[in-house]
Each structure stands twice: as C-alpha cells, then as structure tokens.
Subunit: 479 residues, 4 copies
C-alpha cells in the first residue's frame, strides 16, 4: 500500500512538473506572487489584530478574524479546540503529507503604543503587540493560503493546515493543543517569529518550568506568642536560600529565578501563608527535569525544616525547541532567494528616530537588507513551540519586522508592528514559509530527511507535557 | 429625636446636681451616683459609636458625637488639634491641677459583628469595635463630666480635660498630640482599657518601632541577562537573614517580626524593587533603640552586600508604658470600693454561649465579679498611651467589658461591646476613674507622689518621639 | 556587737555540747564535730586532688585517693562501675533508707593556676580545678563518713552511700551511672556545688542536648565541575539558617548555639563533608525534646534541600534539675544553723587582691559571712545531676568556696580552691550535708515528704536518658 | 660519582656539538638531535626531582639540581631571586632578543606514589609529583640548553634564559618574580605543561583571586548571656549567603567557592572569631576585579549587619593566561613536525592497567600518538604563568606525559611522571620548545608579530599584581 502510494505520488509529481514547466511559472514564483498580490489585504489583517491587541486567551476578535479569512479562502475551520475558545485548526485538502503553519495572535499587557518612533501609548496601561504576534499570525495565514492555492491549482494531494495557537505569552496554548493530540498526524510544522534581522537559525532556546510553591504554617500573634506560630515566610526564605546555594551546583547555562509573590499579610502576625513563584530554565528539558526535582526537594526540605507544609502548582513548562537542520536549510535557501528588506526614506527616518531611543550599541541600520548566516546558538528565551518540536519536525525563521536593535517586549516593537516596516518583514516571512511549503509538498525526501533527523535528535526521550492534566489557564490574563 | 434626648439628658443632670447639693453626700458617692444616673445616656453614646465603627483617622461621626456631648456638658472643645481632623481636646475649669481623661474611639477593619454570641457580621468585611474603643471613649467622657460636675458644684479650682485621641490602632494619634505639646501642662493622665477582668495593674508593656525597608536594585531579564541585574529581593532576604542571626544576640524579651511586603513583580525580571515591613519590640524603649540601630545596620549591610540601595521609612513607634504605682494604688482602691460586675440571667446565657466559641482553657465565668490583685507583669502589646506616660504621670485600668476569656481584636469582643455586658464594664471603669479624679483634685499629695515616682522612673531619659517629623498618616486606613 | 554575738554562739555551742556529752550530744552536733575534727585531713585530700587536676574520665589518682579513704573509713567500695574506670560507689550499712552523697573530682583543661591572687599557672595550658570539684568530692566524702560514724555509733538501720561520679564537665558520668541502675534504690541524693555565696536554692537550671550533625555530599573540582558536586557545607549553612529562623518560634528561654566544627577542607574542592556542633537548652527537658525534634528536622530538611545526606551523633544531654523544696528547706535550716564564713586577715587580703582582677560590679566582700535567702531562679547552666534528680529526690547547696564575685571556670576559682578560703567553704558544705543526712535518717517523714514532692513534680514524665545506648565517651578529654 | 657523571655529560655534549657543526644539519634538526642525545641524562634529572618531591618554596634540592646542571651547561645562575630561596634565573648570551624558558619543580602534598599502575604510596601522606612539575622543569632546561648550544655554535646574538619558578601550586612564585621586574626585558616566554594529550592550544584559562575573610566579634557564654555576644560565625554565614545570592548576578563563567576555615571554637561560647576562605575565578581578570569588589562588599556588609569587624588577607591571585595565536602557531607547527608518542608493549600494558583505575569514559589509548588540533577553549584552572603572559608574549604547550585519561593532581599522574611514559612526553615537549626557540631567534618577525598581538590583546589594561606588596608566603606548605 505504502509503496503504491509513494509510486503514485512520484509519478504525479513528475507529470505535474512537466506540465508546470511547460506553460506555468515555477511553483515558487507562483506562491510568492500570490502572496504579494494580497499585500494590502494581509497588511489590513495584521493592522486590525494590532489594534485589537488582545492578551492571551482573550483573543476573541483576533481569532475570529483569522478564522473568517481562512474560511473565506476555502479552509474548513474547527473552532474552540483543546477546550480553548480562541484556539482553532483550519484545514484544506486531504491525505498525506500534512504540513502545518503555526499562527499566534496574542498581545502583551502594558505595551500599548502608537506606530510612532517615540513613547506614546494608544491607551496608557493597555496591551500592545510588543512581540509582533499580529504579524506572526497573519504571515502564517498568508503562507497557508498561498500553498493551498498552489496545491489546488496543481491538483496535488496533501493537507495544508493553519494552527491558531493562542496565549503564547505565558499561557502556552500550543502545549494544550499538543496534549489534545491535534498535532499527531502532522508531518512538518512551519513557523517563524518577528525579529530585528533575517535569519533561518538551526539553534535552540531554553526549556522552562514555572510553578508556585505555597507554604502553610500556623498564625500567631508575633509579639504575644511567636513560639506558637510556624512561619510560612520562614519556609519561603529557607527554600530560596537552598536554591541560591544550589546555583553553584547546576550547569552554568541554567537559569533559576523567583519572586516572593506572597510574603505575609501583616508584620504583627506570624504568616500562616506565603508563596514563592519560580521559573527554571535550561537548554535541555531532560537536564531541567533533574534540576527541577532538586528545586522541589529544596521546597520540601524547607517545609520540613520550618515545621510547615508545602504544595506546588505547576503553572507551565515549555520544552526547548528541537532544531532541524534539514528544514532550516530549506528556510535558509528560500530566504536567500528572496533577499532582505529595503526601507523607503520615510521608513529609514522612522528607523533612525527609533534607534535614538535605544541604549547601548545596537545592530546597525542597513542590516535589515541582509540575510544573516545560519547559527546554532541558544536563545535565552522560551516558547510553547518547543513542545510542538518534540512531537513534529518543526522549523522556525526570523525576519526583520522590527528596526535593527529593537528588543522584543518593548514599545519600540509595538510601534514597528503597526506600520510598514513590520508589514514588510511579515511579507518576507510569509513568502519564505510558502516556498518551504512548496519544497515539502514537491519533494517527499524533504519530509523523510526531516523526520529522520527528528528521530535521531529526539533519541529515546518520551515527550510528556510538564503541565500534566492541568486545565488551560484561560483566566491568567484577567484581573 | 436626638434633640429631645439631649434635652432630657440635660434636665436629668440638672435635677441630679440639685438633689446632690441638697444632702451633700461625700465626693466619691456624688460622682459615682451622677454617672449611674446617666447610665442609659452613656450606653446610648457607646452603642452609637459601636454602630459608626469608624477606623483610625476616619472617626468623623464618633468624634463629633463626643465633642457635642462634652460641649453640651459645659466643656469648651478645641477640634482638629495636632493637624488631625478627628483629634480634639475638651476642657473645663482653669488653673492647676490639670487632670486629663483619655478617650479613644477607632474601630478595627474586618471585625464587623452583631451583638450576638455567634459569628454574624453586620456587614461582611466591614470594621467593628473589636477592641472596645466605643466603650473606652465613652467611659472617659463620663468620668470627665462627673468630675467636672463635682468640681463645679464644689467650686474647686483646677482643670478637667478630655483628650479625644484617634487612631490608637496603628495610627498612633496620641504621639502626634504629644509632639504638638498638647499634654505639656497636664498633671496626671487617667485612662483605662476594656478587657475580660477587673484589675488596676502596675505593669507595663512593650515599646515598639515599625518601619518599611525599601531596597532598590537594577532590573534585567532574568533568563537573558541576570548578571546585568541587581536584585532588590536579594537584599530583603539578606537583611532578613542577618536579623534572624541577630535573634540569638538580643535580650530574650525582644520581639522582631517582619513580612516581605513586596517580593518582586514577575519572576522573569530581576526585581529592582522589594520591601520588608518590620516591627521590633522590647519592654524598654532605650534598649529597643539600640536593637533598632542594629536592625538598620542589617539593612545597610544587606544593601552593601547585594549592590543595591536602601531607604527606610519609620511608620511609627510607641514607648513602653511607664507605670506609676501610686496612681495604680488609687485606681485599685477605687475599684475595690466599687466591686465587680453581676450578670443577669440573660447576660450569663450570652456569656456561656460565647465561651463555647473559644478555644482552650479560658478565664472562668464568675471572675467578672471579682477584682484581680495588682500585678507588675509585662503585657506583650503596644499602645500610643506609652508616649503620654513618658511625658505625664499616667495610670491605666482594666474592667471586664468582655465575657471572661475573650481576647482583644476578635468578633467576640465586638459582640460584647454592643450589648449590656460591655456597658456594665464601661460604667465600672467610668466610676473608678471618676473616683480617682476626685482623689487627685482633693489631695494634692497624690499628684506630688505621682510626679516624684514619675521623675524617678523616667531617670535621665529624654523623651523623643520615634516618629520624628513625620506627618500623621491620615490615610493609613484608606485603600 | 558582732564579736559578742559570735562569742555567745560559741559559748552556747559549748554549753550545748557539754550538756550533750553528758547525756549523749545531739546527733547534729556529733556529725559537725566529727567533721571539724578531721579538718586538716580533709583539707589534705582536697589539696591533693587539686594538685592532681585530672580531667574527665582521666581522674585515676583522684578517684583512687577517695576510694582509699572511704575504704579506710569502713565503706565497701565498688570500683569501675557503669563501665567507667573512675566511677565508683562506696557503701556502708544495710537496708532502708538509702541516702546518697554525690562526689565529683574532675578538673578543667587550661585552668592551671597557683593558689595566688594573680594569674600564674602551675603549668601553662595544663588543667586546673576551675570548678572546685576537688572540694566537691571531698566535702561529700566528709559528710558521708560523719553520717556513717553517727549511724554506727547509734546502731541505726540504713545505708550511707558515696557516689564517685566522674567527668561532670562534659562527660556526664552520672548519666551513665543512672542508666546502669546504680541509683535505683536510693531514697535521697544529697549534693552541693562550690560557689561564691552560701545558699540552699529551690531553683532549677537548663536541660540540654548536644550533638554533631554530619553532612555528606559529593566532592568535585570547584572550578572545573562545580555542577558535579553536592556541597556538605551548603547543607550545614542551610541547617543553620533554618535554625536561626526557628529562634523566633521557640519559647524565649530556649538557647540554641552551634559552631561549624568542619567547614570544608580546601576551597577549590566542593566539600563532601561538613559538620555542625549544636547545643540546645531549655528549663524543661520535655519542651526541649520538642525543640530538638525541630532542630533535627532542620538538619533533615537541609540534607533534602541540598542533595546531601546527614547523620547525627548525640554527644550528651542533661535533664534540668528537678528541685525539691522540702529537701532544700532542710539544707537551708542546717546552713542557717552553721552560719557563714569568717576570713582571717590573710584571707581578706587575698580576697581583696583577687577582686581587683575581676571586671564589673561584683558581689561585695563580707557576703561570705551571710546566708542568702532561698531563691527559685533558673541558673543558665547544665549539670548531669539533673538526671539523678529525675530518678531520686535530690537536693543541692552552694557555699562560698570562692571569694565573692568569682565566676566558675576561671583561674580565680582554681586559686581559691587551692587554699584556705576554698577549704573553709568545703567544710561548711560538708557539715550542712551531714546535718541533712541526720535529718533524713532520724525522721522518716522527711523522706516521705521529699518523695511525695518528687512524684508530684515529676508528674507522668518517663525518664529516658538522652544518651540512649551510647558508650561513655572515655576519651573525650584526650587529644 | 655525581661529579664523574657531570664530567661525562659535559664531554658528551662537547663531542656532540663538535660533530654537529661538522655536518651542519638545519637548526631544527640540530636542537632536536642534541636533546635526544641527552635522553638518559634528562630522564635522570626528572626522576631525581620526582624522588625529591619537594612542595612549594621547599624545593631546595630540586632547584639546586637544576641550577647545577644549567651552570654546568654554561649558564650563569642568579640564585634566590625575588626574596625566594628556591627561585632563580639562569642566563646565557647577551643582548636582544631575550627568550625565556619557564621551569617549575614543586610537588603536591599527599600524592606520594610509586611508578606502578596501582595505588601505592612511596610514603603514605608524603608529597608527590601529581602535576608533573619534575618533567616541566627538566624539559624547559633541555630546551634552553639545546637552544643555547645552537646559538653558541652559530655565534648568534641574543640571550637564552631559564626561569626557575617555584611554588606554582598555590605559592605563585612567578608573580613575585614578575613583581620583582625579572621578566621586564624578556621578548618571549616559552612554556609547557604535562598532560594526557599533545596540543598547542590558543585558549586561555581562569584568572583567580583567593583570600581569607576574618571576622571578629565578642565572645559570651552562649547559654548565660548570648545577648552580650556578637558572633563572628554569624558574619561568615551572612557573607556566604550574600555571595550565594550574588551567583545569579555574575557572568555564568564565574566560579566562586569557599570553605569555612574557622567556624568557632566551642558551641557554648559565642564565637569571637571565624574565618571564610574564598577563591573566585573568571576568564578575564578585569571582570574578576569587579566581582571581587562585590564579594568584598558582601564581607563588609556582613560585618556591618552582624555588629562585627572584618579584615581580609589576599592570599594570591593569578591573571588569566593571555593567549598568543602567532606563538601557538609556531608551537603547533613544531609539534606536528615531531609527531606523537609511541608506547612500547610494557608501556601499553602499564597504560591499560592504569586506565582500569579511572572512572567514566576517558580519552582512548592511542590518542597519545596523535596531535590534537588547536583549540581556543577555556581551561577551568589557574596558573601563575598568567601573570607572566600579561607582561611578556607567552606561549604554552601540552604533551602526553600521562596515560590518556589521567587527570592532574592524581596518583596516576605521579605514577606516570616517574617512569618512561612521562619521560617520553617530556622529551617531546623539550624538542618542540627548542624548535620554537630556534624560530624566534632565526626570524625576528616572529617576535614582532607576537609582540603586536600581545599589545592588541592587552589593550589598555595596566597590569597590577593582585598580591600587592605581600611577601612571598614561603611557609605556606609548612605546618
């Protein structure tokens, strides 16, 4: 059966390419042109979501807009997947291969900003797209639609999917979607992220685990009967101290950080409740698991040593991204084919003004025109895409949606994402991913190689989401 | 309605004083009878304030009611003293001696409770008179008025004052009034406090100092650049640790307690701000001063050792009460003369029901009928009366306004203060203090002895309010 | 006046003894006189042991000397009891009651000192009798012999015992003797201790427990592979920190102190071994047990939180002394009968010279002539007599063997114990205890009352030695 | 006997150099052959020093032997330089360039071991050459002599020096020699170190600073008057804690490690003295300086916060090695020319037996035959050669003197250094360095390029020895 299908697929490819080469532009040109033809339409979608600026799990209007556009483009849309109202999967075609484009669309609290090169919130304290997810979700849609159109026009077999993944910023929507099995049959996941340069990296990032450690003691009047009390704050400080001692004895790439999210109610009462909020990170989830066990032991030891009790609530945990050199190679090839960005005079003036608001030496202007060489460095950040990448061969990409030198999670990033500079970067990403999509559908060996590398890198690790059976924290941005 | 009741009250007073002058009973009998004659009127005032249940510096209606009654009784009232709207001094007479009766009338947050022997808030979360200050302020007024009436009828020289002192619970109104010089010419201050037994103690309590230690560091992304950050929370924990080490090296009666009132904003950011809220106590303010210096050094050392900066805001500080055995002897004598309280059947049923809500072995029912022997023990609590006592010979008193076994700052205390059990205790206190007032005006040697003992106990200590030039924290209960 | 009084006393004594000898002097006079008759002999024994100056469990010559004298006086001596070569029990008589006199004879390291009022070691660094146990052991022997002689001359039934208890200073010889059952049949234990005043106290002292907490980690090169190491020193510091946090939450009379007896071998190696040496104390062993449990939990919590392991070695533990007011009353009566000490001119000069070497305000000269009133205060020290007192009704006594103002464990104490001042105090103690012995043998109600009080004070506590099944640490002073 | 051997050695040298000049091989071949001709003589020297096994600053016989050999070879020897009896400089020739060969010869405590592949100390607890410095000093001498012979035979200008640098293991002899100006006029310093592979690295290592922090408090009886004491151990623990907090906020390559070298004398006394012994390291001394300042601030903050005082004694501090790629390139070229080592059957059997005593996966046998590619990694160790390298262009080298898999500072390393395997590696190092010496004297551009790179790398850093004006710690290994 399998052999027959492959044979058919090869034959079909051959015929198609023969036919294509005769009168039709090559598939790559076709998808790139089809995206460019929708430049204004996609810009409108991105700017609309930029204005919605909805935070994690509250992306009602943003997800509805994307769903509507995908439906209009011929996708069938399954809404509210994985018990998350703003998560969805849009699908076109049937059978294998199944290629997924990953979309995000949540904004960040407090980063409201007009599209001007000076600090000026649209509404003080309101959310803003400081991580460029309005561009992220739109480019992924553009790529999916372009590949779908090409598939359709070419009568090719296979499935194109768009995954609407909410709450990347701390809500970890993708992990709940992975847990729900939504990625089970996917062959390759194609994704990207806004940035301040153009690059198809083969590197990775940090796995992380976050949790609240809650300690329970016995209240007592701190002046009259402190000996009758058992301080939960003592436990928090003892845990912290043991973790600080531990810093010497973990690999140096480890990161452990905490706040005391509840340090007692009133100084004249021995606190019967106190809470520490921890995040730990390491480039390798397997190593991090061992470190996390020791952090948990520090919490247990602190409870034991202070006559208190402890319970831990895991808030989340992202796997590190499992890189895929073969897939990155495709993205890099396609990015090179398309080249960097060219600012207009107005954009350059905007960029120069914006750079003046940044501290320290920054990436120079002009670098947006170039494609950075591939790199395998570790980014000190975490993303729920990591969990996708341990289940499906996954590839990323960065384009210069932000003026060189711009950091993520800044008002500067919000500003760029609301004007033409952001849109240009978004269009480059959409086209690059569409080309990669074509590569994957056109040449089955790409998928085979990506899968083989995936299996080799994954080794004998059994993926197990850190979140366990926790429900999606749909309210984590409310309050 | 109100006007009518006042008119009746005035008439009754008139009749009583006429009757009194007719047969000329001894001064003690006269003041006791005059108070008892107003039983219902004073009960009404106390219950009115109980219903107002206004917290510190918000006692607008409570202070206005007391001011009005004192004015109606012939006192001249100076309102809004010491830059505090709800502080006042009511005065009658002229020249020496000057005897002060001390009134309080602030309620406590969260202790709203109906006058029933089971937990039942009038309004959930609302304030309530859990420390009996509705009784406190009213009894002091009753004593002041009775002594004033006697002075007037006897044409004696001297001045009776009533000090309306707000915000005893954490706001330390008296200290600002002391600082403003309002007690400068007073010869003796007579005070009392609600309790669950009848006693004229010669003991003392704990001086205290409270402050917030605020640390300032440098924020940085905790995963990407923790080495660029300087954690203010590190400083708080380092300070706490040094204070915990210090516990071994302070006199064992010392109390030091703290909460972490701000332990960082988000775990993925190195906290650039963190705050610890400390209270320290010791039976002797002079010793406490030295301990406080060391706590401050711990804060400075923590800032130095964590590359952060620190500033401290003193929130308050009460002197320990300087006891006066001579004055306590007078109160004890007068308390013995009057004897304890007698519950009705209904009151006893209430008391029995209330005791069932208390944990552990408690003072037995029936003890409200007795007068406890004098004691010189140290109460592990603090009061702004302490500052008065280092400026003026001061005497206290406790009566059983609460069912035996009741602790201060409980709903049980609120309940008792809103019904006849509280009123009975209040009347006993008013009469005892009035008798002491008569003793002081009648026999100048009492004042001389009290002053001599005061000077001897005070020694060469120069009183200096801990609050320095801080303004009254009029908003400390708002929020 | 004074001289007259003494003269009268002597005359009275004379008359009394004359009268007594006529018809058999009273028993008290008999034992007092028999001790005084041996003044020089007992002084020789005490000074001999003073010169031996043997430390805990090394008291070979000292114990042999006492054994020889007791044997010579007619006692049967059982040597090397409780597996301790220098422990012994000397016994005379048979049957009930059984009265025990408690002797000690160990010296202290480093306190070698000639019997002169300026610092001058016999041999620098050598041991010396800085706690007066040369006097302690001799006086107890004198009392035992005198009571035995009286029993014998009077043909009374009963048993007199002398307990030779070594290593009171840290070796806790008595506890091993108690554990061996040697006190099981004793009715009353009579003891005393050298001091700088004369007093029969009804107070108590502090129970204590001491132990070493040993932590085991994993060594690693601290520069090359600190993440491979698990620091045992981390565990010690974590334990210490949790204990310091605990200080706020134990009764204020508690004492917890520690050193880090092993803090790692070399800074460039992650320590795989570290050790903390703890002592905890409280006036009540039952309370201390609970606190010790929490200290142990802190050690366990520290091991858990630092990925190390822990083992604890209990080094010792003294019960607090269970006082016996009835027995103290007898001692007090007898001490009053005998009166204080009278210095010669030479002794006074010595005392004055010695006081000049002391800091701060000290007990005045002349106080040695007085008997201090009984007191029930808590002495902040520990003794293995505590364990005896929970098994047998026990009584203590202090006499002024040291110049007023002298502290225990000082060269000044050693100096006094080697000359007539120490001997005078010793003789007073011997006579007082002998009189108490006579009281106990003469009047059975004394023993009954002592026993009844003992049972009442002990309550339902089951005595269990802290040392468990540990062997006597015979080498603790070697090294 | 010794004299005869020396005479023979001199004669042999003479004959060889005569022979050499006859046929005039290339300079490289000449120096390599001249070293090989002395194989047994150099082996004898190395084994002699191996047997001396003298620790730092105690290398009296070892330095005397090397001095004698260098004098015999025609060098003029200046003994006892820099106020260090076992430091010396041997010099031959005059004028520029001046090329220095660096020798070390101190052993390590406790690593005594026979030259057998199982643990067997020559004398238990005695020192041993666990870091191969017997080979180090001998190879440098062989290179110096060979280059000198070639210079002499070629009548070239320039100076060859041998620096006898004692106490590399913790005594930092070179730094005192640098401070004394002994390297001021040197053009290039050529050095090497024993290892388990052959490599001419361009990497660096860790700068370090070590010191003792001594805290002084106030002693007090820990049970009777803990409030009178100020614990120096508290200060040590507070310092440690603040340093542990600091770990999060230093670059991740930083290493900070400590022991508590004095943690108090007795638990019942509040410690008035305690001491922490710290080492800190970082790849860059300039960064380390800033970190050290913060560690010192933690110590000061701890003293302030615990009412104690602190003094710090700097024990030492090595600069990181400033690499020189040009010079490493020469060493690499010469190492490649000579090739790796070939074991005999007996050596291979020894190596196999030795590898069986090692844990974990180790470098495979056979790797000694290869030359490792150059690498720029950071070795997590420190050496006083670092200070030389900031004053003079300096180059290192590693050869496989130890069986692959052997770590420094082990008995296995001692064993290898006492038999033919160590000697073979030593000979390879001697020849490589001699070839490099020839390169430097032959082609002035090598020195110019090395200098230029040195200046560029050094930048505007002003070298300042960490030790300040501290005297050489000549007794640091006594005790």
């Amino acid at each position: 059966m399998k052999t027959k299908r492959v044979a058919f697929f090869l034959l079909a490819s051959l015929l198609l390419s023969l036919g294509a080469s005769a009168q039709r532009p090559d598939a790559g040109t076709q998808v790139v042109d089809s995206i460019e033809a929708q430049h204004q339409a996609y810009a409108d979608v991105a700017l609309q979501i930029w204005k919605f600026a909805e935070t994690g799990y509250q992306e009602v209007k943003s997800s509805a807009l994307l769903e509507a556009r995908l439906a209009a483009a011929g996708f069938s849309v399954q809404k509210g997947v994985a018990d998350i109202p703003t998560a969805f999967v849009a699908s076109y075609g049937s059978g294998k291969p199944i290629i997924a484009f990953i979309g995000e669309y949540d904004a960040l609290p407090g980063l409201s900003q007009e599209a001007v090169p000076e600090r000026k919130p649209v509404m003080t304290g309101a959310p803003g797209h400081g991580c460029g997810h309005n561009l992220l979700g739109t480019a992924a849609m553009a790529a999916a639609v372009a590949v779908k159109d090409w598939l359709a026009s070419d009568h090719r077999q296979g499935t194109v999917r768009y995954y609407g993944t909410p709450a990347e910023e701390g809500g970890e929507g993708k992990i709940y979607m992975v847990r729900a099995g939504l990625f089970r049959d996917v062959d390759v996941a194609v994704s990207w992220h806004p940035g301040d340069s153009n690059q198809a990296s083969t590197g990775s990032n940090l796995a992380n685990i976050s949790a609240k450690f809650r300690f329970h003691g016995i209240a007592a009047h701190a002046a009259a009967a402190p000996d009758k009390g058992r301080s939960a704050l003592d436990a928090v400080e003892a845990m912290d101290m043991m973790v600080n001692l531990m810093r010497e004895h973990v690999p140096q790439e480890t990161r452990i950080h905490y706040i005391i999210s509840n340090g007692g109610a009133a100084p004249n009462v021995v606190p019967d409740f106190a809470e520490a909020y921890y995040i730990a990170r390491h480039p390798d989830m397997q190593v991090l698991d061992g470190i996390w066990q020791r952090i948990t032991d520090a919490a247990k030891g602190a409870a034991l040593g202070t006559s208190t009790t402890m319970d831990m609530e895991i808030l989340g945990g992202d796997y590190n991204v499992l890189p895929n050199s073969h897939l990155s190679g495709l993205q890099n090839k396609n990015l090179q084919r398309l080249g960097g960005l060219k600012y207009t005079n107005e954009e350059r003036a905007f960029a120069e003004a914006l750079q003046k608001t940044m501290l320290g030496p920054v990436r120079p202007l002009g670098s947006e025109e170039k494609i950075q060489p591939q790199s395998s460095s570790i980014t000190p950040a975490s993303t729920d895409l990591g969990d996708v990448s341990w289940n499906v061969p996954t590839v990323g990409l960065t384009t210069a949606t932000w003026v060189p030198g711009t950091s993520a999670h800044t008002w500067q990033a919000t500003a760029c994402g609301g004007m033409t500079i952001g849109i240009k970067g978004m269009m480059l990403a959409a086209k690059t991913m569409a080309l990669t999509g074509v590569d994957l559908f056109s040449d089955p060996s790409n998928i085979q190689k990506a899968r083989a590398e995936f299996e080799q890198r994954k080794g004998n690790v059994t993926y197990k989401p850190v979140i366990g059976d926790r429900k999606p924290p749909l309210d984590y941005r409310k309050q």
